[in-house]
Symmetry: C2
Subunit: 285 residues, 2 copies
């Protein structure tokens, strides 16, 4: 397994693979791997000759007061885990290489980023789309794999790739969960003592939403109210949002008559967690 | 010479050339070719195995009340001229393919686009950078060639390519001029009767600015005043702006102590013309 820090070295390596007709898959990450990340890499392994994963805690997608500084980092541990699932290249650029002096270009996906996490994290998706665009240009993959836990991110990246004509397949994988249902996230390490139990309010709320939907409920407000009441019944929790949106542009809908997703963000202690469920799909819980 | 309309066909063709190790050069245009365009294509011919030029009048870079509808178009004439200088592929996509329903992704270069034409054409450069990004992703060139008549565009595209890590060389060529000094532009066809003579106020003003600079004048305001007075002395003219900026981020400067450009935009009758000169360089007039 290669570890590459230089942008131009990564580009040259990818270009040489493409010239040989090899297929490159790419999993962009902020590191501190859990099984969710490793599942994306395994999927990449199935789909390509060379799996590249990037580890880069991207400053432009964190707002003031968010957890950029304390976001967990452990390259040595990550390298071991990546090697274990057959990753071929880890790309770990520096901040000064990624955002040099006079840096000033940003990509905005204007509709899909307005709602949900876009409401409470202004600028977050502009940072996400911009760093992904940069990484795609550096790694030059044929296929890129994202987890659907960050559903809005997945929809936004797919939209960007289609809009700007990147010759790139975007694959989304179902959320990987702990045995008790908690969606895997690098931020789960922040949860202290009994907060871990309270964090189950997210996945259990999705089960309730699914049950209501399966029983024929289509009124978004009714489902949202049930979910908020459920989250509120757990200690240490504070709802950021619970919303039901159509999946194309993530606009709120009142009645579930098109493909729709229920997405929620909850603060558990000081830790902000997200989860979601697309109605009609399987929920591995 | 091939004429390709389909985005996916263009991508496949470029990918097949890259796989063979061939170098692709690219000249993005809005068509209605003059010698300035043809010089860019000739430069591409020198630098590559395959010269691609796109002809696309991009709606997102025109503001309300601008000349999108009446912008001159003549594909047959353009195809003949392109063939004459050895262009290999003309790419002419449709508006519905380039901006399908739900299109919503835009790239902004935030500093270089604020001043000069950015002041009177809000949204123009967002349209330019976005369409260039799309075209680069479709044509997949190794080198792209722009004219420096649109100096702010050249600086902005160079900045974008560097910022988002496109593996692409951006080459700028000096402005091609008519025998009497008028910068070539597709919009020159709009000039009626005596307006053509008045249009010389731009290039003649640059000569005056150069002369002052060569005599040791470094005070921007003094040069700007001389130029404005000169433009005003021609009939049918109205100054949009005359500015002297540093060339990195195109911010106004008071004293010419770094690399600097004088840029001007003048309405001659109803036709808005631009021109510029980088102090210390040659001025082919």
């Amino acid at each position: 397994m290669k570890v590459i820090e230089s942008i131009s070295e990564m580009q040259k390596y990818s270009e040489s693979l493409r010239r040989k007709g090899e297929i490159i898959s790419f999993v962009p990450t902020m590191g501190y791997f859990h099984d969710g990340h490793l599942n994306l890499m395994k999927e990449g392994k199935q789909r390509s000759d060379c799996v590249v994963t990037s580890i880069y805690v991207n400053p432009t997608q964190f707002g003031p007061g968010e957890d950029f500084e304390k976001y967990p980092r452990d390259l040595e541990r990550d390298a071991g885990l990546a090697r274990g699932v057959g990753v071929d290249v880890i790309f770990t650029p520096s901040n000064t290489d990624m955002y040099p002096e006079n840096y000033q270009s940003y990509l905005n996906v204007e509709e899909t980023t307005k709602n949900l996490c876009g409401l409470t994290r202004p600028g977050h998706f502009r940072g996400v789309t911009t760093i992904c665009l940069k990484l795609f240009n550096i790694v030059k993959p044929h296929v890129t794999i994202f987890g659907k836990k960050d559903y809005q991110q997945f929809v936004t990246i797919k939209r960007m790739v289609q809009d700007i004509n990147l010759d790139l397949e975007v694959v989304g994988l179902d959320t990987t969960r702990e045995a008790d249902g908690l969606a895997m996230s690098s931020r789960n390490v922040y949860l202290k003592g009994p907060e871990r139990e309270s964090a189950l309010c997210l996945s259990r709320s999705l089960v309730m939403a699914k049950d209501l939907y399966d029983k024929g409920v289509r009124d978004a407000e009714a489902i949202i109210e049930t979910v908020i009441k459920n989250v509120d019944s757990y200690p240490y929790t504070a709802v950021d949002y619970v919303k039901i949106c159509e999946t194309k542009n993530l606009r709120d809908i009142k009645n579930i008559d098109a493909e729709a997703v229920i997405a929620l963000a909850v603060k558990v202690g000081k830790t902000r967690l997200i989860d979601n469920y697309v109605f009609g799909e399987k929920l591995n819980l």
